[in-house]
Every structure is written in structure tokens, then in C-alpha cells.
Symmetry: C2
Subunit: 338 residues, 2 copies
């Protein structure tokens, strides 16, 4: 492995602590002995385009606080950036498309955060079934206690439908395993062999998925043709007493329709994502007792940012060894992202 590659990490102090706790930082410094770490929130960062020109990094490591890369940098005759290892998610605001056109390789946290999002999906499902949201309000603010025939439900014995079968759904299928529930998915592009390895059944259509399961967990990717794909008609196919959880993307669901149905009070709804975020203060979902609301907490919790950091260090090691990288943001991924 060739060493002494020029590398610059643009991370705040807090990001270094959260994403690169020991031994990740030590591993990174061992891989890149000339690594310079600069906090993009400090004063000196003001003329960072100049610093980029001086440092001429081949590798750039970035976090949330880095402003958009200046396109003018591409005109620098000494421009040498080849790999940008982004420690978090979307790169659209960070990297103008022209950098990718010039061949810049970009990776992000990719599937390293999937298990924590899957965990949030299980949490929201159990929360909705056991009515934790409305009990939290009633117990804390209304001095409440249960009545003898309080209606709460268990996940045991349910049929769970996963809309989409990417990395998060796959992790969720693992977390659901010990509940022994029947899990099925609608994800036409996924091969039978993958579903079989997870013990997950295939739904032949979205209509089958929604009508044959009493817990639906929404995890379909957002792309323009998926906008409002989960329509009122589909939502009304969920069997009576069912539960709808969204930890994927808000815009995949017709939120107006979901709100109309939620107001009828029969469907349990648990949402972590919304078409408009932050969720407006006057959203009709707020205040409904059969709705659980989280403020998009499904992403990596602070204590698991270290997973994304370790994933980045793994990728840097792969890059230095000339091995294929994981979680590459290709031009087509870039164009589909928001």
C-alpha cells in the first residue's frame, strides 16, 4: 500500500469525536500519515479554497459542516482531488455535479447506518401496537392509568409487509426473526434467492402487500415515479386494526390521504419521515391519539455515528489498496438523490 497520500479531513471537533472514536482515528492516521484535520467552523476556515489549492489533497474527508465545494477549484491547474469520503448521507449540497463529471470518486455512509434505521422501524412498530405515544401523554400529563380492558397489541402473530427490500429492510427482517412473524415484501427487482435467505415471502403486487398484512412498514426508495405511490386506495387495503409505519421517505406516501384515514381513528400510524420536514407545527397529524410521531430520528443516533466513521476508514483503506469501494455515489445515484 503506498503511503503519504495528501489528505484533508474537514470535520468539526465534535464530528471527530462522534465519527472517529478510538480506534478509528488512529487507524485513519496510520493509513494517512500526512492527514490534516481542519474544523470548518473555525475562523481560519474562511479562505479554505486557498487552503485546498495549497494542500492539493488527493483525498478529502467531509462531514455535515462543509460548505459547497467551489467549482472554481476544478479550474486550478494543480487540482488533484480523486476521492471524497463523505462521512454522512446526501452529497448533493456539498458536491456540484461537475466534480463527478471530472471523475471524482465519492462514497457516503451507505449501508453502515441501515441497522440503526431498522431498529427505529421495529421500535415504531412496537410503539404503535402498544400505544406508547398516547400512553406517554396520558401518563405524564393526565395522571392516567389503564382501564381493565385496555386495548393494546403485540407483534407476535402479526403479518408484516415490508415495502422495499434494500439494506434497511434486510436488517429489519433480522430483527423481526425472533418474533416468528410472517414477513413478506414487495420489491420486484430483488431475486428470489435473497428473499429465501431471509425467510421473507414475495408479494406479487403492492395491492397484495397492503391487503395481506396487518403491519405495513414503508421503506421504498424515493424516486420521482414513487411520489405518492402509497395512495389512499392502497392504505385502505390494510386490514382492519392494522398498523402503518413510515421510516423510509415521506414523499412516497400520499400524506393527505394518510391523514384522512388516520383521523378516522382505526389505523395505527407511526411516522418518522414526512413529505415536508420539519413537520409543520400545525400539521394535522399532531394531536391524533392513534399516531406516533418522531422528528426523523431513524438515522444514526449519535452513539452509532462511529459506524459511519469506521465505514469511511474502511473505504479509505480500500481506496489506498486499489480495491473496490462500498457505498459509492455514482452519477446515477447522485441524480436520484435529494
Amino acid at each position: 500500500m503506498s503511503k503519504n497520500r495528501t489528505a484533508l479531513a474537514l470535520l468539526t471537533e465534535a464530528e471527530v469525536l462522534d465519527f472517529l472514536p478510538s480506534p478509528s482515528l488512529e487507524r485513519l492516521q496510520d493509513l494517512l500519515p500526512d492527514l490534516e484535520i481542519v474544523d470548518p467552523l473555525t475562523d481560519e476556515f474562511g479562505d479554505w479554497p486557498r487552503r485546498l489549492a495549497e494542500k492539493r489533497p488527493e483525498i478529502l474527508i467531509t462531514g455535515w459542516k462543509v460548505p459547497t465545494l467551489p467549482e472554481s477549484w476544478l479550474e486550478d491547474p494543480n487540482y488533484s482531488l480523486r476521492y471524497l469520503c463523505h462521512c454522512t448521507g446526501t452529497v448533493r449540497k456539498l458536491i456540484p455535479r461537475a466534480f463527478l463529471d471530472r471523475g471524482l470518486v465519492v462514497t457516503n455512509w451507505g449501508h453502515s447506518i441501515s441497522r440503526v434505521v431498522a431498529e427505529c422501524g421495529l421500535l415504531l412498530t412496537l410503539t404503535a401496537l402498544r400505544r406508547v405515544s398516547s400512553w406517554s401523554i396520558d401518563m405524564h400529563l393526565n395522571g392516567a392509568w389503564k382501564t381493565p380492558d385496555v386495548y393494546v397489541e403485540s407483534l407476535f402473530g402479526r403479518q408484516v409487509g415490508l415495502h422495499g427490500f434494500g439494506n434497511i429492510s434486510q436488517h429489519l427482517a433480522r430483527l423481526l426473526k425472533p418474533f416468528g412473524v410472517r414477513v413478506s415484501t414487495y420489491s420486484p427487482s430483488v431475486p428470489d434467492s435473497l428473499l429465501e435467505s431471509f425467510g421473507v415471502a414475495r408479494a406479487e403486487s403492492l395491492e397484495d402487500l397492503f391487503s395481506e398484512n396487518n403491519v405495513i412498514i414503508e421503506l421504498a426508495a424515493y424516486k420521482p415515479e414513487n411520489r405518492h405511490l402509497v395512495s389512499e386506495k392502497l392504505l385502505r387495503m390494510i386490514p382492519e386494526g392494522g398498523t402503518f409505519v413510515n421510516i423510509g421517505r415521506g414523499a412516497v406516501v400520499d400524506e393527505g390521504a394518510l391523514l384522512r384515514i388516520a383521523r378516522e381513528g382505526c389505523l395505527q400510524v407511526a411516522l418518522d419521515v414526512y413529505e415536508v420536514e420539519p413537520l409543520p407545527a400545525d400539521s394535522g397529524f399532531r394531536g391524533l391519539p392513534n399516531v406516533t410521531l418522531l422528528p426523523h430520528l431513524g438515522g444514526p443516533t449519535i452513539d452509532r455515528r462511529q459506524d459511519a466513521g469506521a465505514h469511511g476508514v474502511d473505504n479509505i483503506e480500500r481506496y489506498l489498496k486499489g480495491e473496490p469501494l462500498e457505498s459509492v455515489v455514482s452519477l446515477s445515484v447522485y441524480d436520484r438523490s435529494t
Copy 2:
């Protein structure tokens, strides 16, 4: 198997539906062709001691709504009750001790409800880590949204300590498996082989359990010597940023100490059980943002009462075949129960 044993089920209509959905009721009627089902809430039930004397049941099946069995029945020269299959939990209020002294065999729902209680333990743990209770209040009532550095946590990477290793803890260990967390338990009477089969480590003392895990799930049985066993000293041993969950018995914990510590705001606390239930409306736990409160929902949810019913039918089949019963309420179990 001899048939035509006299049997009487004292269950409400709702209990029959909840505990004995198809095929359990059909199985029961097949086992006991002479079974009579009487709703203890109906008018005719007024002189049920007379009906007991007339029916002379060998087998009695009971639910929540049956009043205390009259001790006078024991003096009836035709008294013939040999087996009481109680579909729910505690029998102290239902059965005077004298019936057990006379050799009555009693069973209850026993471990058939363990997995649903374990599920509630996982739910409370995830709820506390992801702060679902306070987010529920803030999202629904305060129009809230997260700030960039919202602090929530994941179960991945935690160390979980289970106080007690009975059936509920064993089910919980199964549910925790896909999280890959280190699980240890303090339960001196449990053999190493059982712990090994669950991949659970042994803590040598309660002090070790509380100081070496950042999630403690309280599941120790209540017996007089366990009263307030979980003391302020123990609770303060939980590492900083830890979580304490009680789905076992309220009285095992020194609640005054727990409240003092909860008020300091560092420990996440999630409670389903309390020393005094219903939890008083003016309890100091109510209103604390780092405390999750449920009104003793850990028991079987209505949709899983069928597990307890099926367990009862299994026991009746065993009884008729002369096989050993499960979940027997022996005199020593009876005396320890509350």
C-alpha cells in the same frame, strides 16, 4: 383418555372470545363434551354456589370475573373439584388456601405470557434510548422538531444486564439476539448450561450487574426478601448515560431512590410496574422527560390472550391423559404470590 368428565367454565362472553378463539374452543369442547360455559356476569350466576353443588364439576375453568370460591363448598359431601385451570395470572383472590390444602390442583397462564412481557421489555428499552416518550409529548403538544444535535441512542453496541433469568428474561434474550449486544444476568440459582445455551454471561453479584452494563432490565421475582433490593447504591452504579427498565415487580426497587436519581436527569428510566398500582396521579415520576411510563401493559395484550387460553387447553388435555401439568400453582408458589 376417559371422556365425559364434568367440567364447568366460568368465563364471560368476551373472555371466551379472547382466550379461546378458534380452534381452542373446539379443542376444549372435544376434550370435554359435557363442558358447560357460564358467564359469571349474568344474573343467573347469582346462586352459583348452588350450581356448583348441582354440577359437581371435577374441572373448573376460570377467568378474571369469578368471585372468590366459597369455602363452604369444601363441606359439601359431594364436593368433587380436582383441577382448577385458571386462564389468567394470580389466583390468591379466587381460591382460598383451604382448597389447595384439600389437594386441588391449580394451574394458571404461567409462561405462556412471557414472550409478550419480554416484547414490552424490548419496547421500553428502545423507547428510553430513542426518547420516544418525551418526543411524543413534544411532537403532539408542542409543535416540536429536532435540533441538529438531538441526543438519542441505539441499542446496538450496548451492554444489557438482566436481573433475574426466568422465562421472561429467557424470551428477552432471544429478542435481543439480532442486536448482537452483550447480555449478562444475575440469577444465582440458574445453571451455567442454561446461560450458555442463551449466550448470556453470568454476573457474579448484583453490584457487578449494575456497574458493568449500561442498560439494566429489572425482572427479579418478588418475594419479601427482594423488597427494595434494588437500592439507591445499586442504581447509582449504573454507568453514566445508562438506562433502567422495570418490567418485573415494582416493589423490588426502592422507588423513592429511583425517583431521586431520575430527577437528576441523567439516567433514562422506563417503567411498566410500580410499588403502588395504579400509579398515584401525583407521582413524582409523572412529568419527568427522562422517564417513560406505561400503566402495567407488559402482561398479555388482548390479541395474545389466546396464548393463555391455548396453554389452558393444553393443560386440560394433559390432565385428562394423566400427564404432568405446566404452570402449576403449588402451595409454595401460592404463598409467595401477591
